[in-house]
């Protein structure tokens, strides 16, 4: 299939689909390559729906495969975190490339509400350590 400029309709390196994997109480979302705005938007809705139905308590968004994060995607990440928080789940953005971090600061997008980790494994550890692993376990630990 091609568009009116004779280009293929799907761009090589662009993702039309984002894998979302459930690992226990955590959703692992892996962003890779380049994202259409509409895919990022859809992802936000999907994650909200998945949290609500599955009751996961943590979301890890692995962006180590993203070469560019602009203000649109930055906002989507911040909104996913805010929306997850309302649904009693915590979000950690993992694996931001150094060049992306430098660029985001210069762009003026420091995303203060966003929790981050150096990689997906560290993000899972962070969620487990800070009690996101189970709301019930944490509350029973608070009242021994």
């Amino acid at each position: 299939m091609s568009d009116s400029y004779g280009r293929p309709v799907s761009v090589p390196g662009a993702s039309a689909h984002v894998p979302v994997l459930r690992l226990g109480d955590v959703l692992l979302v892996t962003l890779q390559g380049d994202l259409y705005d509409s895919v990022a938007q859809q992802l936000q809705e999907d994650i909200g729906a998945t949290i609500a139905t599955s009751g996961v308590t943590g979301v890890v968004i692995d962006i180590s495969g993203m070469e560019v994060v602009d203000s649109y995607l930055g906002r989507v990440l911040a909104e996913i975190a805010a929306q997850s928080s309302l649904l009693a789940a915590r979000t950690v953005v993992a694996g931001m490339r150094p060049a992306v971090a430098i660029t985001l600061v210069e762009l003026g997008l420091t995303l203060p509400g966003l929790r981050t980790a150096l990689n997906a494994e560290a993000a899972m550890d962070l969620l487990a350590r800070t009690g996101s692993g189970s709301r019930f376990r944490r509350s029973s630990a608070e009242h021994p």
């Binding site: 662009a14 705005d37 560019v68 602009d70």
Partner: protein
């Protein structure tokens, strides 16, 4: 030596799919001209912001890309133009956090910080053109004019 092959282009901006093409073209052109990874990332991010403005606020348009040289310096010039509503107050539009609706308001001001040279021309009712230049090596003396 960098060549202009794969650098000169005119890309349409009419959908979010086109934004992906713009980012890929700018990435490849910048790499071809010898931009380092951080400079490539900054320029692609600026291009993504400006192309989205062309699409969302300008109602669509195009990006023209060309190699520029000044002395021994090699750079990439990108011009984003549309025949949209134009911008009445340029200073306000460039202000961090200002959006006429829906955005974060960081695109225009942020893009200006991410490139070496930036010019914004707009006429209400006629359209908007934003032209940026970044240099592959240290920018030459004249930073604000081109």
């Amino acid at each position: 030596m960098p060549t202009s092959a794969g650098v000169e282009a005119c890309l349409p901006i009419g959908s979010d799919l086109d934004l992906v093409w713009v980012r890929q073209h700018v990435r490849q052109a910048a790499a071809r001209l010898g931009f380092g990874l951080v400079e490539q990332t900054k320029l692609v991010t600026a291009a993504s912001e400006l192309a989205r403005n062309t699409l969302v606020h300008g109602g669509g348009g195009r990006m023209d890309s060309a190699q520029v040289t000044r002395g021994r310096a090699v750079g990439l010039r990108l011009a984003f133009s549309d025949d949209g509503p134009g911008i009445a107050d340029l200073e306000l539009a460039l202000k961090d956090g200002y959006t006429s609706g829906g955005g974060l308001g960081m695109g225009l001001g942020g893009a200006r910080r991410l490139v070496h040279e930036f010019s914004l021309e707009s006429t209400v009712g006629v359209g908007t053109t934003v032209t940026v230049v970044s240099w592959a090596s240290a920018p030459p003396r004249l930073r604000e004019e081109f």
